[in-house]
């Protein structure tokens, strides 16, 4: 029974489920650092899914789909930035507006371009290619876990490292964080905080667009209405959970993916679905409790040290 639950497909499943979350969360944590959390991620993922399929279908290439999805993400990110940074709108309102807009627009375009309602699948949608890393294909364990994934899965891992280096090892990263934490200081240093915020917002849009195209071209090869299925909000949770640190956020996204995979496998051995459904949420609460507790005791210890 344990073998049915804890096998290598569990890890595969975890990686697959986590990837859209990772891509979106990486974008979102940039805006979080820049001091304007974008809750419109959900909508941008949905738009990315749609335009990914659109590009792949009409240009006959998955790359075109990904680029189109990224472009749409860029535009939406730019719109978000204009509203939040220059027009000083409330970022939550703009985010919600993006989500509603995306839901409506994709339904409308699905009907007017493809003439269908609800779902669109076609053999003409070219999926993203799968990678086989020749070096590890001879090692059975690594072969199953790391091979035969769509390219975006590997790219997302590279993005995690790149984002980490960008944020913590380059001056640009420091500027970006300063734009969120202390924009006046950044201005004094002669760097425009406005520009840094724009960069964060646009990068977030592009990454969420990629997350969407991965969902509709890598994970699946179809588009259905609302296929983002709250992944934008789970990504948001991953950001908050990982305290906007790329590595920790990556871990949080993997955790969500893992519990999702675990839930499905527990059902196979007879655990009721109502129970497996709550596993991710219970796990989140428990993990959050442990994390916060550890922080609190650490803070307490630090303050005690000060008084000695």
């Amino acid at each position: 029974m344990l073998k049915q639950i804890l096998n290598l497909t569990l890890i595969q499943h975890t990686i697959r489920t986590a990837t859209p979350l990772i891509l979106a969360a990486l974008g979102g944590l940039l805006t979080e650092h820049a001091g304007m959390l974008n809750i419109g991620m959900e909508g941008i993922i949905l738009l990315g899914s749609f335009f990914g399929v659109l590009g792949s279908y009409f240009f006959g290439s998955s790359l075109a789909g990904v680029l189109l999805a990224g472009l749409v993400g860029l535009i939406v990110g730019l719109i978000f930035a204009i509203f939040v940074i220059d027009l000083k709108s409330d970022e939550f309102i703009v985010g919600i507006a993006i989500n509603i807009f995306a839901g409506g627009l994709t339904v409308f375009l699905l009907r007017s371009i493809f003439g269908v309602k609800g779902a669109f699948s076609s053999p003409n949608i070219i999926p993203l290619p799968r990678l086989n890393l020749p070096g590890i294909s001879s090692i059975p364990f690594l072969d199953i876990i790391f091979n035969n994934h769509t390219v975006f899965i590997y790219i997302s891992w590279i993005f995690v490292i790149m984002t980490y280096i960008y944020l913590y090892k380059t001056p640009y990263g420091i500027w970006l964080r300063a734009a969120g934490e202390y924009p006046e200081a950044l201005e004094t240093a002669g760097v425009s905080f406005r520009r840094m915020k724009y960069i964060a917002s646009i990068a977030c849009g592009i990454l969420c667009g990629f997350a969407g195209s991965h969902l509709s071209l890598g994970y699946l090869t179809l588009f259905t209405e609302n296929m983002s299925a709250n992944r934008g909000f789970i990504a948001l949770a991953a950001i908050i959970f990982g305290r906007a640190n790329p590595i920790k956020t990556f871990g949080a996204a993997l955790m969500f993916g893992f519990f999702d995979a675990l839930g499905i496998r527990l059902q196979v051995v007879g655990v009721p679905s109502q129970f497996t459904q709550m596993i991710p949420y219970v796990a989140t609460i428990v993990a959050l409790f442990i994390l916060t507790r550890r922080q609190l005791t650490k803070r307490k210890r630090d303050s005690e040290k000060q008084f000695k």
Binding site: V107, T224, M227, V268, S273
Partner: protein, 365 residues
């Protein structure tokens, strides 16, 4: 000058207690306004109810008045199964009977259920309601609009005269699907992906299980509930887990989530069975057959029965194998056929046995 004057005046007002007086008067005015609004509001609410009655009285006498149908669905059209089947039914009624139709989608937003149902009730004298989510709402609304006929599929509610519920024997149809899966499988292991763990889906499940075990008592059957009807990615993961666990045929009963099951079958070179409508056309290479639940047909029949005044008020209408409400669909001739004539003959034999009571199919609702 003017500025000074007003300034002086307002100061005087505050000093002289007259301001307090004015405040009281304005309070009274506001109260009166609110009261009058309430009165008007009540009056308005009653007025259309009267109109409804007038319409309905006419409707009882004249079939032509029953020439509008509203279709209310809990999700959205385009699921290529359940809701679309219902839509086909009213579309067919529009073509054959020349009635007007209007579709109200709630897009899974519970706050819209009541509103859309009321909208539909005000639009048409016949309202078809599709989705288990309406169980409570439809009973309330049916009592509020006693002269509108409600056709509510997938549930059994008795005792409300203008509410006709249609119940399908999913278990009987799924028995055939299970038997077919058991005949087709090479691994003696099959699976099912359900949308949500609820009575209707359970009814599919018990039938499917019983059917498979009828053919092969030792067969392994695993079921996963995605707990979502609209997330194909979840359906794909569920089916992938079943396929990698050894199953080679998965029956999907999960709406749009089921699209992901077909994707998984394609990717892993396994097979799937569709549901509600004949879904083979979606991918004829992996979808071997479909368990068809004729929601549309039953709505169509009921519309005709209402028009001809041939319904039994407050009763449940049953659609099983006997009434042709459920059955198997094998796609069109030009598609690659997986189900051989022998298998079809065997399924016909099983159907015969179910009809004459030799096989008793367990039920779960």
């Amino acid at each position: 000058m003017v500025y000074n004057l007003t300034k002086g005046k307002s100061k005087d007002l505050i000093k002289g207690g007259e301001f307090k007086m004015r405040k009281k008067v304005s309070l009274l005015l506001v109260l009166a306004l609110i009261l009058s609004m309430l009165v008007i509001g009540c009056g308005e609410a009653e007025a259309p109810a009267d109109d409804e009655e007038d319409v309905a009285v006419d409707a009882g006498e004249d079939v032509a008045e029953l020439s509008k149908v509203g279709l209310v669905v809990a999700g959205g059209l385009g699921d290529r199964s359940f809701y679309d089947s219902a839509n086909e039914g009213v579309e067919k009624a529009k073509e054959d009977l020349g009635i007007e139709i209007k579709v109200y989608e709630c897009r899974n937003d519970p706050s819209l259920y009541t509103d859309q149902l009321v909208q539909a009730s005000e639009y048409a004298p016949i309202v078809a309601v599709v989705g288990h989510e309406f169980y409570d709402v439809v009973q309330e609304i049916a009592e509020e609009f006693p002269d509108v006929y409600y056709i509510y599929v997938d549930n059994e509610i008795e005792g409300i005269d203008n509410l006709i519920t249609i119940s399908y024997a999913e278990n009987e149809g799924s028995f055939l699907a299970g038997a077919l899966a058991a005949m087709l499988t090479e691994e003696d292991s099959i699976g099912m992906v359900g949308g949500k763990d609820m009575p209707v889906i359970r009814n599919f499940e018990v039938g499917y299980r019983a059917g498979a075990e009828y053919i092969n008592p030792d067969i392994k059957i695993e079921t996963i509930f995605a707990e979502d009807f609209e997330d194909p990615a979840k359906g794909k993961e569920g089916a992938t887990a079943l396929y990698s666990g050894g199953a080679d045929i998965v029956f999907q009963v999960a709406g749009k989530t089921g699209e992901g099951v077909f994707e998984a079958a394609k990717e892993m070179g396994k097979y799937a069975i569709g549901v509600d409508t004949d879904q083979r056309y979606i991918n004829p290479d992996v979808i071997v057959a479909s368990m068809v639940k004729k929601v549309g047909q039953s709505i169509y029949d009921t519309i005709i029965n209402i028009q001809n005044d041939e319904i039994e008020p407050g009763k449940v209408v049953y659609y099983g194998l006997e009434q042709g409400g459920v059955g198997m669909g094998y796609g069109t001739e030009d598609m690659k056929q997986f189900v051989t004539d022998e298998m079809k003959a065997k399924l016909d034999e099983i159907e015969e046995k179910i009809l004459n009571g030799e096989i008793e199919v367990p039920a779960a609702k």
